[in-house]
């Protein structure tokens, strides 16, 4: 690919270009959006969402997540760069296989929840009108909104509106779900239901791209992560990328009187130990954690507690973005 003589049209290329990887549900290359105001909302990002993944798309508010999603869905034109949706450079050709919830739900306030879904289904040129009523009912049932289907949308609570947005995304079987802040406005119970729904869909083979600024809800469901800040994708990959990024520590608690022995054992293992009362604390480094308790017991140390503290998503996130949440530009 580096041979200068070879030019490949990214739109028609397949396989050999990283951008058109058939294994990717969403792929972007050097995707950039500069708004007319001059603000660079998205700055050359290479997003890669493998098929079958639950991809947690993280970033503080205003970091460019939503603009990226809008470009991927064809709502906003990139200033430069390319994006592929389900392998296609033309989003319109594959969007009927994609369910999307973008920046909160949007429905006609004076139509009922059900009428709103049927309106969207009527807009879908590839949907079978004969099954519309059944599919609407199923989608409403799936998000627990069937009882309120006859109410006008404007009477819905924020959580119900969010559920209707999810129902719209589930009107047809989808290969990819793009969920932008899907739990906004939901109570803890609703948040849990959405997490379960995402898991269930992912198990059935649906790829899910879920963006959020709430780390907890992402951490519990995702298989892959991407962290954005100020328009740039700072980190991306399977969840294990976190372990490479942050520092994993071990905490060992021992019986009184064994602290010195234990510290000696850990030093022999090559760890830099700091002790506090009965607790020893060290960076794990490349050491296999299972070796530690074994070595301690072998040395006759009474081990009371042993814990491996992997870097939390929050810790990595804050290290990377260097700012608190909800910092808008």
């Amino acid at each position: 690919m580096t041979a200068p003589a070879v030019t490949v049209d990214p739109a028609s290329a397949s396989g050999d270009l990283p951008g058109a990887d058939a294994g990717s549900a969403v792929q972007t290359r050097a995707l950039t959006k500069r708004f007319r105001s001059g603000q660079v909302a998205v700055d050359g990002i290479d997003l890669s969402v493998p098929r079958g993944a639950v991809y947690g798309f993280l970033g503080p508010n205003g970091s460019g997540k939503t603009t990226t999603i809008r470009m991927v869905l064809g709502l906003v034109r990139p200033t430069s760069g390319t994006s592929w949706l389900l392998g296609s450079p033309e989003p319109a050709t594959v969007l009927s296989r994609v369910g999307a919830l973008v920046e909160g739900p949007g429905f006609h306030p004076y139509l009922t929840g059900r009428a709103n879904l049927l309106r969207l289904d009527a807009a879908d040129a590839t949907a079978d009108p004969r099954t519309a009523a059944r599919r609407a009912s199923e989608a409403l049932e799936r998000v627990g909104l069937l009882a309120a289907e006859g109410k006008p949308y404007r009477q819905y609570s924020l959580g119900m509106k969010q559920r209707l947005g999810l129902a719209a995304a589930l009107l047809r079987p989808r290969e990819l779900l793009v969920l932008d802040e899907p739990t906004n406005g939901l109570d803890p119970q609703g948040t849990r239901e959405v997490r379960l729904l995402i898991r269930e869909l992912a198990q059935a083979g649906t790829t899910v791209l879920v963006s959020s600024h709430l780390l907890g809800e992402i951490e519990q469901v995702c298989t892959h992560l991407g962290i954005m800040s100020r328009g740039r994708l700072l980190l991306q990959g399977p969840r294990s990328v976190l372990d490479q990024r942050g520092v994993t520590r071990v905490m060992v608690t021992v019986a009184p009187g064994h602290v010195a022995t234990a510290a000696g054992v850990l030093r022999v293992l090559g760890l830099d130990v700091s002790a506090e009362d009965h607790a020893l604390n060290a960076e794990l480094g490349a050491l296999e954690p299972a070796r530690i308790p074994a070595a301690l017991v072998h040395a006759g140390v009474d081990v009371v507690g042993f814990e491996v503290r992997r870097p939390s998503l929050e810790q990595v996130f804050v290290d990377l973005t260097g700012e608190g949440f909800d910092v808008a530009r």
Partner: protein
Amino acid sequence: MSLAETPTPATAPAPVPSMAAAYWRLQRSELRLVLGRRRNLVLLLGLAAVPLLLGLVLFFTQDTALDGQGPAFLGRVTGNGLFLVVASVFLCLPFLLPLTIGIASGDAIAGEASAGTLRYLLTVPVGRTRLLLVKAVGALAFAAAAVSAIAVVGLVAGAALFGVHDVTLLSGDTVPLGAGALRVLAVVAYVGLSLTGLVAVGLFFSTLTEVPVGAMAATVVVAIVSGVLDTIPALSSIHPALLTHHWLDFAEFLRLEPDWAVIGGGLAVQAAWVAIFGALAWSRFTTADVTS
């Protein structure tokens, strides 16, 4: 599960509907949306009240004071109910109809944008050209409904209050009732077609903003400004091209021999406005970033 459930087995492979069937499914949904919306129904009722009120006022006053003041047909209403249709349309043309058109067409795209439904329609996906066409047909249908509401209520009220008779034309000649009714129908059709240019203008404004009220107001302002410019003699060279200049040419149909060149010219000007602002709306809407 709902009672409305269709008995179609879930396992049947879903055939992809034809393009025409898919278009009309969305078009029907749009017409239901536009014509079923309470605000729009209130507008139609308001327009329908005009001939009713005008008819009642003229009936109870049997006013001849209007004779010689307003256009000739206003004074003839009491003599022939058919003229109530023409008089009502004439009264609504300067402001009420442009207001109605402005609301319907200005809301077309901007209304979806402000409700947040535009992004969901586009990710369904609906092609932008198809959506614009559906919206244009919806706005035109509402314009037709508005003119029809005036005409139908005008006809019913006119017939009930004054009866319908052979029609005395502007020249003083009389044509039989059937031919006269046809001429009144032609007046209504001409007025309806005269509004298409304004619909296109409103549709274009609607693609520029996500604030529907802004697009509505701008559309109404265009009609009003056009009317004002039409009264300034110094600008007479541009008068024939103005959006509203030919609106009152419907009176041609009330002459013994309508001047088809005048009518054709009026319709051609509307066609030009439709072409220009339709193209502007299309080029704007198919390239704009949807950030609403």
